[in-house]
């Protein structure tokens, strides 16, 4: 069959028509998505943190994708629930880096899981951002592509010690913990720091958290002349028993320590609501109510955004949601400015200065991958919780 001009023209017209109607046509390459491997604990015993952070993470992804993505590239969140289990975190991390070939890993969100997963992600040469507090989870030599956008345990302890010694002016301190690894390690780390600040540790003990009666230890603390109690534990039962025993002893001494002191689980175990008075836990300046009863401007704007998106804050903590939101926004801003290859992300972050997050301002250097600033870790009044946020403890300037 010979090819005639009419056939060619009619064929071309059909082709154009089919292209326009979308039935047939050559594939147009869509911009490649930014693959973010995400390792939250959405189920299991450590999931309360993960569920809170997840609300912020999803909000940021939806917001960025609805606005057209990053340089036209959508964020693809590839989620692997660690189930609060380090083994599953390792399996999830391996799948994300090897099979899914993600551009970056966000998480794990709990230290126990990160301790297992960070070396693996580092070995596979994928940049990683996590918010876990254990000091050893960043190391510019061992994990050159791993960055932290949250405080370290050192910063947490230093903030509590600063509050007791410099703000409350208490020089005789009782430092106690439960018998877990976290508790004993915290006491070992924070006691020398307290002594360096000129305080005297008049009582130091690792207490069996299962002991229903803490009166013997509390009596010893009082007899030793303690002017403040610093309990280091994530066990709500143990912390509530300290508050209850102090209340029953009618001992007017401040209790200063870790964030679990202000958790709903601790509150639920108090025998009287007033036993939560003069209890101060770690928190973060950018997400605390100031003396004027208002949140800082960035957090106020963020809360408004959460209300519009109908995201519940009452059953979680504002700083968890803000942390999740900041994680994705930091990744998006980095890809927008530098690109998505491991080298581009690492190089950009090594020079990051005062990145403005809702949770905190982040600064990294080639020698320092812990981005949270010391002065942003503060103490709050635990009995002031509303909308997931607390009042700054007395003594801080707004």
């Amino acid at each position: 069959m010979s090819i005639k001009r009419r056939h060619v023209l009619s064929g071309s017209a059909a082709g154009v028509a089919s292209l326009a109607s979308g039935f047939v046509g050559p594939a147009i390459a869509a911009p490649e998505p930014i693959k973010v491997g995400y390792l939250p604990a959405l189920t299991g015993p450590s999931s309360s943190t993960g569920i809170g952070i997840n609300r912020g993470t999803e909000l940021a992804v939806n917001e960025i994708n609805a606005a057209g993505g990053v340089n036209g590239r959508k964020i693809e969140l590839i989620v692997r629930d660690t189930q609060s289990d380090p083994t599953k975190a390792v399996n999830g991390a391996a799948e994300l880096t090897k099979r899914q070939k993600v551009n970056i890993v966000w998480g794990p969100l709990n230290s126990g899981e990160s301790l297992a997963a960070v070396p693996l992600v580092a070995r596979d040469g994928i940049p990683q951002l996590h918010p876990c507090w254990v000091d050893s989870l960043t190391d510019v030599k061992k994990y050159p592509m791993c960055f932290r956008d949250a405080p370290t345990n050192q910063q947490i302890g230093a903030a509590a010690n600063h509050y007791v010694v410099d703000v409350l002016k208490r020089k005789k301190v009782a430092v106690v913990s439960d018998t877990t690894g976290y508790g004993t390690a915290s006491v070992e780390a924070y006691v020398p720091m307290l002594k360096e600040k000129g305080a005297t540790v008049v009582y130091q003990a690792n207490i069996d958290a299962a002991n229903p009666d803490l009166k013997p230890d509390m009596l010893r603390m009082r007899e030793a002349g303690a002017e403040a109690i610093m309990p280091w534990s994530v066990n709500a039962g143990f912390l509530a028993r300290i508050c209850n025993t102090r209340g029953k002893m009618e001992w007017d001494v401040p209790i200063v320590g870790q964030t679990t002191l202000g958790s709903g689980q601790t509150k639920a175990l108090l025998e009287k609501p007033e036993y939560w008075n003069k209890v101060y836990s770690n928190n973060f300046r950018n997400v605390c109510f100031g003396k004027d009863g208002k949140l800082p401007p960035r957090a106020t704007e963020f809360v408004e955004k959460l209300r519009k998106a109908k995201i519940d804050m009452g059953d979680t903590l504002l700083w968890w949601i803000a942390l999740g939101y900041d994680g994705i926004r930091l990744i998006a801003d980095t890809v927008k400015a530098a690109g998505s290859s491991p080298e581009q992300i690492t190089e950009y972050w090594n020079k990051l200065k005062d990145w403005p997050g809702v949770y905190g301002n982040i600064t990294f250097t080639p020698q320092q991958h812990n981005g949270f600033q010391d002065d942003e870790v503060v103490m709050c009044e635990v009995n002031s919780l509303r909308d997931g946020a607390f009042n700054l403890a007395p003594g801080y300037a707004s």
Partner: protein, 285 residues
């Protein structure tokens, strides 16, 4: 200080004694040392908090339901973890089967109930004094249990049948006693006692899945001290353990209190392996 040692010591000791009796009741009927006693105690607290605290049921209804759940779990323990391994009892497979069952239930509790301690409701709406209900309730439960068991074993036919099975199961069977049904009933009874321990101790120990390990261990100590199968020995051993533990809390404090308990426990076992109230086993030659 003395007040605190006596009130807390006796109350915690009564809970340990009840768990010890739970071990004994299961052991007497089957010669199986079932490691589910601590699990029953833990569930007594958790289910009490669930029925009364969360679901808002009246205290008495919640109490009966907790005991009923304990009985059902006792029966399930016998069917699932004890009966299949009785034929090879000399291989001590029951250690694995009962421990595995207890851990399974504990994990399930952790997933469904949560891993944080939760409040246990105040059972009787009266004001608290130095000898609060959280202290006298376990003591009352312990006294009621020991009196009830004495009456059951000495005054009723069923109780005597329990004793016959415990004494010599082959001879009891030869006399026509329904050994399997009696064993099942013993496990149900043990379930009730274990749940009672956790329920009455709930205000002190809270509703916490982690109580299982503590009760399993500290409930075993009075059995070892008092002699295997001796309920009176378990009560004396339990109360002594509670008082000693609380005194050690005051005198040495912190984790050293637990160390002191273990040191005394090992010393007693070295000096009297048959237990303080037990008789040395004699064998006809």
């Amino acid at each position: 200080m003395i007040e605190s040692i006596v009130s807390y010591g006796l109350a915690v000791g009564a809970v340990y004694a009840l768990i010890g009796i739970t071990y004994n009741v299961m052991f007497s009927a089957s010669r199986v040392f079932s490691f589910t006693a601590g699990m029953l105690g833990m569930l007594g607290g958790v289910l009490g908090a669930l029925f009364i605290g969360k679901l808002g049921l009246p205290t008495i209804v919640g109490f009966v339901l907790v005991l009923a759940c304990g009985a059902v779990l006792g029966v399930i323990t016998e069917i699932v973890a004890v009966r299949p391994v009785l034929k090879s009892i000399e291989q001590h497979l029951y250690v694995l089967s009962t421990l595995a069952f207890a851990l399974l239930i504990q994990q399930f509790t952790a997933i469904e109930w949560g891993t944080e301690a939760q409040p246990f409701p105040r059972l009787i709406p009266i004001s608290s004094g130095w000898f609060d209900q959280q202290f006298w309730l376990p003591l009352l439960a312990c006294a009621a249990t020991i009196v009830g068991l004495e009456l059951l074993y000495r005054r009723t036919l069923v109780g005597r049948a329990f004793l016959a099975i415990a004494e010599d199961s082959y001879a009891a069977r030869a006399l026509g006693l329904p050994e399997q049904r009696l064993r099942l009933a013993s496990f149900a009874l043990a379930g009730i006692i274990g749940a009672l321990a956790g329920f009455t101790g709930g205000e002190m120990l809270l509703a916490f899945f982690g109580n299982q390990a503590i009760l399993s261990f500290y409930g075993f100590v009075p059995v070892a001290l008092g002699g295997m199968g001796s309920n009176r020995g378990a009560v004396i051993g339990g109360l002594a353990l509670g008082l000693f533990q609380q005194a050690a809390n005051f005198l040495v404090g912190g984790i050293f209190a637990a160390v002191a308990v273990f040191v005394v426990f090992i010393a007693v076992l070295l000096l009297r392996p048959e237990g303080l109230a037990g008789a040395a086993a004699s064998r006809r030659v």
